[in-house]
């Protein structure tokens, strides 16, 4: 089975050739989940589309809070929302091109392109005006959504059917190609953050000191918004345009309540997000509800619990105050 899929993929074109290893990985993943399904008797593991949805969900659970942590602590929580709406314009562009020119482009690819351009636009606006501001984000957000709706209405006949899946997300429409694209995005995002974690942390915590220490704040800000665009597009498949920003923000906000250190908060936010994703996918399958909404509701529930735990923690921790040492110049 594996070689056949690989072979078929290689025949299909340059994009598929690039994605071939990821198709192979998907097949492997599917085999694993069939085995898990057999062993546990979980009914929803009998479907390949659920396997892909779970894999995509797991990836979202890592990359959304990973990027979200850097955004939330710079008061940029809403940038995800703005970019999601421009990604929607990107989807519309893809569907439009497919409809008019009969191209077989995945709308997620055009969404990546449009969202990254919009991300750089927001960044450039903020660089020239010296501040991230609600107004520029609101303008980009509404421009994106307006462009999307116009393109879709121009081409309504063939398109109206497919729009809900982008707006609200859908577990069952995660195709093998889209899952493979997501794996590529995942690798790019996690790889970039792993490489530049020091710089991103410094810029996030203390922009001025980071600039003095020789870090190009402007460039890392650009990298950050572009990564955000990639996360948004990747997560859109399941979460939908309207709810995708929640995954960037809610688990991070929960983690900030209970964590002391930055590394701990990263880890906790990923754990919380994964919990919400898995519970949400399971519940939405059995409850036949939209996965994106259910996942976000679980995430918010987890956030509320985190706030409560955080309050208890700080009450318990107030007793012990360590001794403040003196400033020593003798041991230099």
């Amino acid at each position: 089975m594996i070689p056949v899929e690989l072979f078929a993929a290689l025949q299909a074109g340059p994009l598929d050739a690039v994605l071939a290893p990821f198709y192979w990985f998907l097949a492997l993943w599917s085999d694993l989940l069939f085995a898990v399904g057999d062993a546990t008797g979980l009914g929803f593991l009998d479907y390949r589309f659920m396997h892909r949805a779970i894999l995509v969900g797991l990836c979202i659970g890592v990359m959304a809070p990973l990027i979200g942590t850097f955004l939330v602590h710079r008061q940029l929580a809403l940038i995800g929302d703005a970019l999601a709406h421009t990604a929607f314009a990107g989807v519309a562009v893809g569907l439009f091109l497919n409809g008019v020119f009969s191209l077989g482009v995945s709308p997620y690819l055009t969404a990546v392109v449009v969202a990254v351009i919009a991300a750089l636009l927001i960044e450039l606006i903020s660089e020239t005006t010296d501040a991230y501001n609600d107004v520029s984000m609101a303008i980009v957000l509404s421009t994106g959504f307006a462009l999307g709706t116009v393109l879709i209405s121009l081409n309504a006949g063939g398109l109206a059917v497919g729009i809900n899946q982008y707006l609200f997300g859908n577990l069952s429409t995660v195709s093998a190609e889209n899952a493979a694209i997501l794996l590529v995005l995942f690798a790019v995002i996690v790889g970039t953050v792993a490489l530049t974690r020091n710089q991103l942390l410094y810029v996030t915590f203390d922009e001025t000191a980071a600039a003095v220490s020789g870090i190009s704040v402007t460039w890392y800000n650009r990298v950050m918004v572009m990564l955000t665009a990639l996360v948004v597009v990747g997560a859109m498949q399941i979460m939908g345009v309207i709810l995708v920003a929640a995954m960037l923000v809610v688990p991070v906000a929960g983690a900030a309540q209970v964590s002391r250190s930055f590394s701990e908060s990263l880890l906790v936010s990923v754990v919380l997000a994964e919990l919400a994703v898995l519970l949400g996918i399971g519940a939405s399958y059995y409850g036949e509800a939209t996965a994106g909404g259910v996942i976000v509701l679980f995430a918010v529930g987890i956030y509320v619990v985190s706030v409560a735990i955080g309050k208890l923690q700080s009450r318990a921790g107030e007793d012990a105050t360590p001794e403040l040492g003196s400033i020593e110049s003798s041991d230099l």
């Binding site: 915590f205 203390d206 220490s213 900030a256």
Partner: protein
């Protein structure tokens, strides 16, 4: 520029800061900071103007001036965070805004500009001081040792795993001082570093700066606490939009620059225990 550098080479060799001299632009043997006729304004009215200033390796310089005199702006120009509207600013021999060897500068901000909400421990903050040295890499055992040492130096060892947001203002400031120390920089730039720090620790802190300066580290201190400045700094630059005085601390105390820059009410008595 080159004439200045030649005249200065003997002095800087004595101090020995130029050990790790890089090959570029002669940055290490000349002045660390050099401003020539700098003017800057956020609007049409200049905040600072006609500033010429040079700081050589091993100096201990304090910039004083009343509120709104442009001290912090001047510091930003020196660090390259702002670009002068007129004149030139050079740092380690390079144009300040283009200078990017962060390992050579330690910086402590006025009211820590840092995020106030973020979950992060004192140790994680101090580790940032090592980031310019490791780039994309991981911190080595040696880096961690330096971080521990910096924490011990500011007396924050027991607070290393505390969340920064739960600290008092003075404790936070100590953490930021430790971060600057961990950077092992040639030039320490401190913008009112002791705001919020208790009086006893302030004295200890200035002793620490003195000890660092004796090791050859150049110190640039921006202060409103005149007592502290006259007790510790070797050279004073008195600023109020332009330079009113630039010279040895003793001469500054005897001069009338203070009265001219601050108005008549100012005196040295208010500050850190002369």
């Amino acid at each position: 520029m080159s004439a200045l550098r030649n005249g200065e080479s003997a002095e800087s060799a004595d101090i020995g800061v130029a050990d790790d001299a890089t090959a570029d632009a002669g940055g290490s043997s000349g002045p660390l900071v050099e401003l020539a006729d700098v003017e800057f304004g956020y609007t049409a009215t200049p905040v600072v103007e006609d500033i010429s200033l040079r700081i050589d390796p091993g100096e201990y310089v304090a910039i004083v001036g009343p509120n709104g005199s442009g001290k912090s702006t001047l510091m930003k120009l020196i660090l390259g965070l702002l670009r002068p509207d007129a004149g030139t600013a050079r740092l380690f021999g390079e144009p300040s805004h283009a200078f990017d060897d962060g390992a050579r500068i330690g910086y402590v901000a006025q009211h820590a500009s840092a995020s106030k909400e973020m979950p992060i421990t004192v140790r994680e903050v101090v580790k940032m001081g090592r980031f310019p040295h490791v780039g994309f890499g991981r911190l080595s055992a040696e880096d961690h040792r330096i971080v521990d040492e910096a924490l011990a130096t500011v007396g924050m060892t027991d607070f290393a795993n505390r969340r920064v947001t739960k600290l008092s203002g003075g404790q936070r400031q100590r953490a930021f001082i430790a971060r600057a120390l961990a950077g092992e920089a040639d030039l320490l730039v401190l913008d009112e570093p002791t705001v919020g720090v208790d009086a006893e620790s302030v004295d200890a802190f200035y002793d620490l700066l003195e000890a660092l300066n004796e090791e050859g580290i150049t110190i640039l201190l921006i202060e409103h606490d005149l007592g502290a400045v006259t007790d510790h700094a070797r050279r004073v630059v008195c600023l109020n939009r332009e330079v009113y005085f630039d010279g040895p601390t003793d001469e500054f105390v005897e001069s009338d620059a203070l009265a001219r820059a601050f108005g008549t009410a100012a005196s040295f008595a208010g500050g850190g225990g002369a």
